[in-house]
């Protein structure tokens, strides 16, 4: 029997039994589309979070005051009592480690900022000139904070893009004097749009030298120290150096926490792996359900078509030929189902992408492959198994079944 004839026989069978064809197509398509869309959701969330963390900068250690880990009941309570402040001097001491490339201290506060009559309450970040390199930020206009002794309180400010718009509208901002609290600062630079970073809009900040921020907030303590190591491989040694240095400066007490984005990323990776697998498990339930639907439809259909199988045998078709016919039919049908499902899945992903532009929805290849594999496998299995049983009957037996 010619391949072309096998295919056209299958299409004849599809046309001859439209309800069954539609049911199996829909069932397969739903199963595949569910897997594609659900895993794309999981992956979208993962890449979103990963890229958020990547935007923090590479080879980055973040030092924060206080210990977050509790090492047993007694000492933990003792340690937690009064963590010493992190100071600019602490930050500069970290530079002595050979594994540390750059550091940028950070303190944060909220201060009213005003220009002429307009004023706003915005987060003010105090840091040093290294910040822009460590965080890979870019300038829209002017320059970033000047290099030099970090304890010098220059009255200069760099504005986030949105703050600039709100205070100055279309007027030029560079060189103008703005008021932060009760101090005057000269605008020396405008940041280009930085977008979100861990929930904080970096377009809505004013950045000043760390010493000026200390005066503004009337506090010598730092919020964070950002430490850039020489390379990724230096991370563990750098971390140990940081801890040792701070301990030495804090009378032997280890009262800081050092986190690396690697650790955070790894945790999130684990969470999102779990999420993706959970979602894939849920999706495979829908595949199983559609498999059962396919099985039932096929069982009904083959029992309807047992007489046809008997006839084919009576006309001289051997068993293998009948099996080949039904195999081709099942294969074509589940292939179409998978293609329809993939299309629905792709459309769904595009739709999701439009609804949530910040996320990218791309189903992982393994999920797409597995979905198609399972869908086609189920279709083949349930298409061929009952046909195989029917093809084993003697022609009279098969013919008399109706």
């Amino acid at each position: 029997m010619k391949l072309r004839d096998i295919v056209s026989f299958s299409f004849g069978a599809f046309r001859g039994n439209r309800v069954r064809t539609a049911l199996v197509l829909v069932a397969t398509a739903i199963g595949v589309a569910a897997v594609v869309i659900l895993t794309a959701l999981g992956e979208g969330a993962r890449t979103y979070v990963t890229s958020e963390f990547a935007s923090l900068g590479s080879n980055l250690l973040i030092v924060l005051p206080g210990r977050s880990e509790t090492a047993g009941a007694g000492p933990a309570m003792f340690v937690a009592e009064t963590p010493r402040d992190l100071t600019i001097e602490d930050a500069q001491a970290l530079l002595r480690s050979p594994h540390v490339n750059r550091i940028a201290p950070l303190n944060v506060g909220s201060v009213p900022v005003s220009f002429r009559q307009r004023d706003r309450d915005v987060p003010v970040l105090g840091t040093t000139s290294e910040w822009i390199e460590i965080r890979h930020w870019t300038m829209d206009q002017g320059v970033f904070l000047p290099a030099g002794d970090p304890t010098t309180a220059n009255a200069v400010a760099v504005l986030g893009a949105k703050v600039r718009d709100e205070l100055f509208g279309s007027e030029p901002a560079l060189g103008e004097w703005i008021r932060l609290g009760d101090r005057r600062f000269r605008v020396i630079g405008i940041l280009s749009g930085q977008g979100q970073s861990i929930g904080m809009s970096m377009d809505e900040v004013v950045m000043v030298p760390v010493a000026s921020a200390q005066l503004l907030f009337n506090s010598a303590s730092l919020f964070r120290i950002f430490v850039e190591t020489r390379s990724r491989d230096d991370m563990p040694e750098a971390k140990q150096d940081v801890i040792n240095t701070i301990r030495a400066r804090h009378q032997g007490e280890e009262d800081v926490t050092v986190i690396s984005q690697d650790a955070v990323l790894a945790t999130f990776d684990k969470i999102f792996d779990a999420l993706t697998y959970t979602v894939a498990a849920i999706a495979s339930i829908s595949l199983v359900v559609s498999g059962i639907l396919i099985m039932n439809v096929m069982l009904v259909v083959v029992s309807q078509r047992t007489a046809e199988i008997g006839l084919l045998k009576a006309l001289g078709a051997p068993r293998v030929q009948i099996l080949r016919l039904f195999l081709a039919e099942a294969l074509l049908l589940s292939l179409f189902g998978a293609v329809v499902g993939l299309s629905i899945g792709a459309i769904g992903c595009i739709g999701l992408g439009q609804a949530f532009p910040a996320l990218s929805f791309e189903p992982p290849a393994w999920a797409v492959a597995a979905a198609c594999f399972v869908a086609i496998g189920t279709g083949l299995l349930f298409g061929v198994l009952p046909a195989r049983r029917a093809a084993r009957l003697d022609p009279v037996q098969a013919l008399s079944r109706r």
Binding site: G12, G310, L311, K313, D394
Partner: protein, 228 residues
């Protein structure tokens, strides 16, 4: 051509054995025109199924063209069915989604012939049964007699040595039944052996050789030169 020796066929119904054939001996030569009559349940269909290799005997030997066909494997049996035997059923057994021409073409497709070889043969057999103008009608658009003629066209397209017909007129009125018998007899004229199982004496009496079955055995076997 067909040599049956002590063919037996038993069915188990519940816990009882039904002896449908109790050792039938039958020889049919090339080109013979045979009718098989007898009361209901006498084993006529069962016998025809065995001759057509649609069923297997429980005992006895079946030789076709001198070769024992009961011991052939499944693929070889299918081949014999395809090449040597045409079968016509009481209930036509046409595939409803296919047109008359497509139904007739089916054995050629299964045999793996090229489309350009198939077309003229389909046209020829449809013409032979007088249905060339119904080629593209589906079975539900045809009368019973027309359907049976399509079935005969399908059974003869492989040019078998023997046509087996199980009550080919059983579902037809007299007029279409006569048409169908006419078509069958034109095959006899072309030298194809025909075995017709029937309840209708009008049909059965037309055959040159008339076999009567009762209770799983052949009880009479008469050849009349006077027939037709």
């Amino acid at each position: 051509m067909i040599e049956l020796t002590r063919i037996e066929r038993n069915f188990k119904v519940g816990d009882q054995w039904v002896h449908a054939l109790r050792g039938v001996d039958l020889n049919i030569a090339r080109g013979e025109y045979v009718s098989i009559m007898g009361p209901s349940g006498s084993g006529k269909s069962t016998l025809l199924h065995i001759v057509g290799l649609l069923d297997r005997p429980d005992a006895g030997q079946y030789r076709l063209d001198g070769k024992d066909v009961t011991t052939l494997d499944e693929v070889e049996q299918a081949r014999v069915r395809r090449e040597k035997i045409g079968f016509v059923f009481q209930f036509f057994h046409l595939i409803p989604r296919l047109t008359a021409a497509e139904n007739v073409e089916l054995p050629l497709i299964l045999a793996g012939l090229e489309p350009e070889e198939r077309k003229p043969r389909v046209d020829r057999v449809l013409h032979a049964v007088g249905l060339e103008d119904r080629a593209h009608h589906r079975p539900d658009q045809l009368s019973g007699g027309q359907r049976q003629r399509v079935a005969i066209a399908r059974a003869t397209i492989m040019e078998p040595a023997v046509l087996l017909a199980d009550e080919p007129t059983g579902n037809l009125d007299r007029a279409s039944g006569t048409e169908v018998i006419g078509v069958i007899e034109s095959l006899v004229e072309r030298g194809i052996a025909v075995v017709v199982v029937t309840h209708d004496p009008f049909v059965g009496d037309r055959a040159r050789r008339q076999i009567r079955m009762e209770d799983g055995l052949i009880v009479s076997d008469t050849s009349s030169t006077a027939a037709r």
